[in-house]
Amino acid sequence: MKEDRNNDLTWWGTFKLDIEKNKEWHIGPLKLIIKRLKNEWQIAHESADIFDSMDFSWEIKDTEEQPNIYSNNSRYILHDITGQLIVAPRLADRSIVSRPHIPFNLAANEEIVLYVSSPLWIDLNVGTTHLKSIAIQRLSDTWFGPSTLEGEFCYASTTHCRLNYDDLPRRSHKAITPVLIRNQSKTTLLLERLNLPIPLLPLYTSLSGQLWTPQITLTREKDGDMAELTINNEPPTEIDSVELVSEAREKLHDNILFRAFNTVFS
């Protein structure tokens, strides 16, 4: 069947399914089967328990397998004549906490750009109807805050944040976020953990299918864990010819003070 997609380098795009036809996606640990019936769409998925996030591959194929071979099943009743399934990548629904491989000190009046990658969700839509959102990789829950009494729920990133752009592996099931950290306080910042407000970011794709978010700037003006958060309105400069893939889950209206660093637990 004819596929209308961005390009062959991506697992997302618009796919046409005929009635009584099934299509299967394998993206990293996620296995997904979608079946179209006359007035119904069926979605079934399963995730592998063990997944080596450095060795990523994906595959899309037509299949005779039925959705009931996977454990998570859902059915959607829709009167749709086009058969166009829109598969879109989305960023995480919570903030993500990541760490540098070895904690480093950022002296007063210094700044640095880090690159953090975060796993993606798959959004399945038919026309304007949203069917389901599925996480490609289930991340571990974690708590980020000054104590066990206050803070926020986040995901713990499985990868480290990196200083060198070239060290960054390019994987199309993850989005890259450049983070500019400015230490404008009088004390050195020991960076052990970094909390990023991923739901506030939109998602862009480069020509090669690598997904990026705009740059975030965290300005630390006083001692402590708080920083002023600014999100660039434009796509990141590290890539050319970008296309907006999805909007931010939540909008940031003004610059806010955000708890971005460390937090020490006893």
Binding site: S140, D141, T148, F153, A156, F265
Partner: protein, 281 residues
């Protein structure tokens, strides 16, 4: 009959009628003003204060104003208030002695509402009873236990004793007590436990799981391994992680021993004599 009628007419045409009318007007005006003031107060502060305090303010202001107007009406009618107050004083002492517990409950309830250790919807544990708070009333707090029973707890006992609010903080720690056999390598046990908690997505990565060596037990090495979870996921984590620890220990051949007793036959090194009786098939 005629006398009664002429008495009534005399009364109606005398000065006293105006006093009576004034008194009635005072009472009626008092009711109207009390209602007005209490509902205005409610509208002003309803956004900032929860339902119980709101109710207290509403009732309190209503009755206060009503009593003021009522007392003025009584003075207008010519009652000697000093006598009334004296009688009221004696009456209230008598009532007070009779209703000690209820008064104590009432006052405890006021303190509870002011202090707010818990609100409607929280889950609390009082003594051996755990349940969800349905209402906080003047004299008591009503709970629904998890097996769907209705429990009434007097406010007085809540003020006097320890109350645990289970739903106050967002995350909760699960303490897992494990005993491993004396022959086991503790480094390997710790690594296995850390591996299990890393893989379980419900187990929070931070705060980090806590490993404490509790002591050299009678039959095993006693370890406490504490992991954190989102409060709502506490039960899910408890079930999944115990199962995962058991599986991981089985895979790594780490033994959780049964209680041991060692029996000696007098001379330590000689084994127990055992005789087989019957067929050995």
């Amino acid at each position: 009959m005629n006398n009664l009628w002429s008495d009534v007419i005399n009364f109606l045409s005398s000065e006293n009628i105006w006093i009576l009318i004034r008194a009635c007007i005072l009472v009626v005006v008092g009711i109207v003003i009390a209602r007005l003031v209490s509902s205005t107060l409610i509208k002003l502060v309803s956004n900032k204060i929860d339902n119980h305090r709101l109710m207290l303010i509403k009732r309190g202001s209503y009755y206060l104003i009503l009593i003021l107007f009522f007392v003025s009406a009584l003075r207008e009618l010519g009652f000697n208030l000093t006598v009334l107050l004296g009688a009221a004083g004696v009456f209230s002492v008598a009532i007070g002695f009779a209703s000690q517990t209820s008064a104590s409950n009432l006052i405890s309830g006021l303190f509870l509402v002011a202090e707010r250790p818990f609100t409607v919807g929280d889950v609390i544990r009082v003594g051996a009873t755990t349940g969800e708070v349905l209402t906080i009333d003047l004299l008591s707090v009503k709970l629904r236990t998890f097996d769907n029973l209705f429990v009434r707890i007097p406010n007085e006992s809540l003020i006097k004793s320890e109350v645990t609010t289970l739903t106050r903080f967002p995350i909760r720690r699960l303490d897992i007590l494990i005993g491993v056999a004396y022959k086991e390598d503790l480094k390997k046990v710790r690594a296995t436990l850390d591996d299990v908690s890393n893989k379980n997505p419900l187990c929070l990565e931070e705060p980090k799981p806590l490993y404490i060596f509790q002591g050299f037990g009678e039959s095993s090495l006693d370890i406490q391994y504490s992991v954190w979870a989102k409060r709502e996921k506490y039960i899910d984590l408890k079930n999944s992680i115990h199962e995962e620890i058991k599986n991981a220990f089985d895979e790594n051949e780490i033994e959780i021993p049964f209680p041991h007793r060692t029996i000696y036959t007098g001379i330590e090194t000689k084994p127990f004599p055992v005789n087989m009786i019957g067929d050995t098939k």
